[in-house]
């Protein structure tokens, strides 16, 4: 999006660090804080550092509002996701939007755009979300073809779906919760906190995948049978019917190539 015809107020790194420090973010994490792009118009913190229930090793999750889309990046323990106003508006009615609305703390927002965007996020249709997750889980129904080749991508998506379904369950039960540690306690499943952490150490394993999938089945039920028989066939057969299943299959290939001659699917926001 082009900047509107008024003074651009870029987010200043030093101001941000002062504010985050004031919110209780430890200095050693802030030491890794990267410089922000010149088109960053606003910044918010979400996740454990925003809720105030961070523990040693917790990441600092930030969302920067920018004019030009770009991939998220990690610097030390600082994870910054970049959203344009249009991209952020697609979070309306999603878990991500609900998560931000509930937990996020605005760090910088000279234009008031982040405040407005969070205000507009609205409620999540949890029944629909769980139904979509069930449909997407078809992707895990052809392991004999897809493993071990696509294990890293499938593992990442299984984690994403399980986490999303647990959040949706909590909302449906009237007790919203976006803390994986709190969910682990609620479900009396200590392994959950480790399984759902965004950053995973070590090589992905088939056993890990089964840990996710067995928990996911307990929430959404038995997965639908694979209509296409493999992840690659799903991509080819669904290519001209863009939807959840294609998006999931395509993203399971790995990090989507960049550059204008590469096909890209729209960002999934459950």
């Amino acid at each position: 999006m082009q900047p509107e015809n008024r003074t651009v107020v870029a987010v200043r790194r030093n101001d941000v660090i002062d504010t985050l420090h004031g919110l209780g973010v430890p200095s050693d994490i802030l030491a890794d804080f990267p410089s922000l792009p010149a088109d960053a118009r606003g910044l918010l913190v979400y996740g454990s550092q925003a809720r105030g229930d961070a523990v040693a090793g917790s990441d600092l999750d930030l969302l920067a509002l920018v004019d030009t889309p770009r991939p998220s990046n990690y610097a030390g323990d600082v994870n910054i996701s970049y959203y344009t106003r249009e991209q952020l508006a697609t979070g309306l009615g999603t878990l991500f939007g609900a998560h931000l609305k509930r937990d996020a703390k605005i760090v910088s927002d000279a234009d008031g755009w982040l405040t407005d965007a969070l205000e507009a996020m609205g409620d999540v249709d949890t029944d629909r979300l769980l139904q979509r997750a069930w449909r997407m889980s078809e992707l895990f129904a052809s392991p004999e073809r897809d493993l071990p080749k696509y294990l890293p991508g499938l593992l990442r998506e299984a984690r994403y779906l399980l986490r999303s379904c647990l959040y949706a369950q909590a909302i449906a039960a009237g007790e919203p919760c976006f803390s994986v540690r709190e969910l682990a306690t609620r479900h009396n499943d200590p392994e959950l906190a480790h399984l759902l952490a965004s950053r995973q150490l070590g090589e992905p394993s088939g056993d890990d995948l089964n840990e996710y999938l067995s928990r996911l089945r307990r929430i959404v039920g038995e997965f639908p049978p694979s209509e296409n028989g493999s992840l690659e066939a799903t991509i080819v057969n669904e290519w001209e019917r863009p939807g959840d299943l294609l998006s999931m299959a395509f993203l399971a290939l790995g990090i989507t190539g960049r550059g204008s001659d590469y096909a890209e699917v729209e960002k999934i926001l459950l």
Partner: protein, 202 residues
């Protein structure tokens, strides 16, 4: 000054555009056409586009250079791994050869359906076409040469960018609003068709 050569940018599976532009060049008596690669993916007719191009090449009327999409296809076949090709939108090419739903073994089915002549033509495609005066390839050649440089690959909008020392010809063919462009040599004039293969005038 009569036209000796024409150079055509990314086609990306748009058969009507290829046919429309080819016919326009035939009317202008262009003796030989250099295609700059990226014949496949994006548009729906990759298999037909390659078939047509190969017949022009076999008749001695065209030279087919390789683009990065053709290189990725060959690499996928050689390594037995479709993942990178699929990330580039290879599904459209595979669909165009299969003509219907694919079963679980995508690589196996695709390999069976890809005609041997197409594979041979893909393997024969050079990266560069060069004369005393010009150098042409899919991705822009090094600017250190004194020759005129012709390339595609990077979309430049509706119109080609033709300068004193270089020309960029990817005008988005393969998308709904993209055009296919031919640069005429040595005049550096150009002619274009729209996504339906109709010559763009004015």
């Amino acid at each position: 000054m009569s036209t000796e050569l024409a150079f055509i940018g990314d086609v990306h599976g748009n058969l009507p555009a290829l046919q429309g532009l080819w016919n326009a060049l035939v009317l202008r008596d262009v003796p030989h056409v250099i295609f700059l690669g990226d014949y496949i993916n994006k548009g729906a007719r990759s298999a037909d586009v390659l078939h047509e191009l190969i017949s022009h090449a076999e008749a001695g009327r065209a030279t087919l250079l390789a683009g990065n999409h053709e290189t990725a296809l060959l690499d996928a076949l050689d390594r037995g791994d479709l993942s990178t090709f699929l990330k580039m939108g290879g599904a459209m090419t595979i669909r165009s050869y299969l003509g219907g739903r694919v079963g679980p073994d995508v690589l196996g089915e695709f390999t069976t359906k890809l005609p041997r002549e197409h594979l041979k033509a893909l393997r024969r495609m050079p990266l560069t076409y060069e004369t005393d005066d010009l150098v042409a390839q899919h991705i822009a050649p090094s600017s250190s040469t004194r020759k005129f440089r012709i390339s595609a690959h990077v979309p430049v909008g509706d119109l080609p960018r033709v300068g004193r020392r270089s020309a960029l010809l990817d005008t988005g063919c393969g998308t709904d609003s993209g055009r296919l462009t031919a640069l005429l040599w040595p005049t550096l004039d150009y002619t274009q068709v729209d996504a339906d293969g109709v010559v763009v005038t004015g």
